[in-house]
Symmetry: C4
Subunit: 225 residues, 4 copies
């Protein structure tokens, strides 16, 4: 595939952005060694930018990032793409509103995933960002579309931008890569807080009406507009 | 509202102070992403300095901080104030002795808040700083005065400078913003220690008389005078 | 008291050492805010160097450190000494082999102290450094000699260089301030590891004979000689 | 033993590598004070490079590393080798495929070791890297070959590159020192995640067939080839 100069400029900027966002994964202690990845859809193209496979976070400059089509075939860049590329690509093919995908093995979110248990919506922060319980996706083996399909099917049944893949770890999505990273940071934070709350008893429930009101407000009012 | 030069000088200094104190929130791992805020009363004025809404802690220079009146209306600055401004403002209107307010979602304090359970005074450090159990405030939805009112009513029934708002997280107050940040740091520290102590059994009680004596001494003798 | 030039040189060097060792407390996450302190005996003198009261760890240059006699009276320096000075001084008066004392409220050690429960010797590292269980000292109120007396009486009945003062936190001692800091770092580390081991069952015991052999070897063979 | 110039060049490069890899132990919070060590086999020689005993991680330049034969006798360097040298040497003598060995007392792995309990393979990451449960080795006292023998016998019965020595801590091996450090980082990470999962219930099992498939794929496909 030949990329025009205009697309190459967009791609180069996205590679810088995606490389820098991997720094948020380490800063927020969501990943160890090479075990996590961020991708971004190239707007208007059937392309994505993603981390190469098995490369240390210390060596993640923008130029290291690779470009693939939405079936995971390498289009641009010199390294093999992340071994999770197929899952990212499946999400982009089936969720056109998604511009960024993040996968980690962050400790507390993965612990809920190991038990196959959704994180209950017992904090105002969960209602704000996730709009309800954070759901669990099916057990799926790497190598075909089963991880991607499990992510998409689970997210479609929920307001949550994050899914806990059973025995595996969280995947999160967003309108762009930064939003997906924010969801990855927050899913670990609330996974930890609710875990700790549960250790000494039962957290108090929040009513569905309050959850709806909090979610509605946060999605529409919060931040700078 | 037009601010005189003298007040503007005070305000500019407070903006620097408040911006710098947000660095203590990250350094002490009390916040992730943009989820926490510090404010300070402008001494002698019906004004407060507070963090803008949804802005990253990396971008919090003094100039970014905004000034509002004590009903949360923007008076000075270019960004929308924190979505928690109404709660801070309510505290300043009703507690004239308070010069600083801090809100976080720090993990262990929020875990106690999720269960609606006060932190028992089983450490000398809790007696020193909080003078007894750290109380829980009501569940309240953002959008009107109910969070502010819950904070003020709970703090008035206690010697504690911190309150755990149910399903939400801690708010703390102090004579100035730095004291309120100190209380925010300490409430998380003791929330964690007592949580961990409770995981393997029952912490030993401290008698009311000892609590009173420790609190009295710490509030009057500790530090440089 | 007038200090000779030779003693002042020793004191100035010790002040640098003690100031720098406070950096180990923060680096090892044993303290928050101003809640921990290191002291050193001035060799051959009835004097000690200690942290001033209520001063931030960011401002702890050597010159900030104060010198007191072994009853806690200020001899040199401009700030009020730590509120724990009486406890440090009591230890130096009654344990001539001790050259350094450290006090923290480190999380896991304080959690064991809150339950009044010794840390059992179930790790080779505990046998190496502490020679057996890490003992609990009595509940004691600040303000007289009762904390110091509790520390000394507890340490005398043990091979451990650290004691968990009930509802309060750990104190540790060493031949010099660095050794006492090492014991403070290690008591928190093993307090955490044994806590976590205990959460999911009973740690396996180590026989008294093995504990003795490990302790004997570590105290005499380990390190550079 | 006289080393040729060619071997000395290799040795000097390995000393830099091994020194730098100790930085990964601190960065990943696997060690405190001086309690952990990395070694590397000198390729083609009956020699190894290892950390000196009781030296702070701040002072670990390449020149500080020592060279011993595979019985732990000092061949090159000025400091006494790590007190764990005999265990490393035993592994190199008996496992010719091993080029690097790491020992830590990392918190969660050591907690499983304290209970003498293997870490069950309930995460895809464990299947990938360890190929099954992470096994426990026998209780063994330092001073003779019993630790080394316990490591080798346990690893031979497993696909795991890491073993949890009872009441002591993890040892890990790899084709080179970097691989052994990776295993040390990952054993702590999965020890923590499975611990946390277990605190609130039973993690879901992964079938032996899925474990085999994941392990096979990760060992042969992952990374850059």
């Amino acid at each position: 595939m030949v990329l025009t100069t205009a697309i190459l400029d967009t791609v180069d900027e996205l590679r810088q952005t995606v490389a820098a966002l991997h720094g948020e994964l380490t800063r927020n202690e969501l990943v160890i060694w090479t075990a996590g990845n961020v991708s971004a859809r190239v707007p208007g193209q059937d392309l994505m930018v993603i981390k190469p496979s098995g490369v240390s976070y210390d060596n993640l400059a923008g130029e290291t990032m690779v470009v693939t089509d939405l079936f995971g075939n390498l289009v641009h860049g010199e390294l093999a793409p992340s071994s999770d590329t197929a899952a990212h690509a499946y999400v982009y093919r089936h969720m056109p509103e998604v511009g960024g995908v993040v996968h980690t093995h962050s400790t507390y979110a993965t612990a809920w995933a190991a038990r196959g248990e959704p994180i209950p919506c017992v904090l105002t922060m969960i209602a704000d960002e996730f709009g309800g319980d954070i759901p669990v996706g099916p057990f799926a083996i790497i190598g075909d579309d089963s991880i991607g399909r499990g992510i998409v099917e689970t997210l479609r049944g929920s307001r949550s931008p994050a899914v806990l893949m059973q025995n595996h770890g969280p995947f999160s999505v967003g309108k762009d890569a930064r939003s997906a990273v924010k969801a990855a940071v927050m899913v670990e934070d609330v996974a930890r807080t609710v875990h700790i709350a549960r250790q000494l008893g039962a957290p108090l429930a929040i009513s569905q009406q309050d959850i709806d009101q909090l979610h509605q407000r946060y999605q529409n009012v919060y931040g700078q507009h």
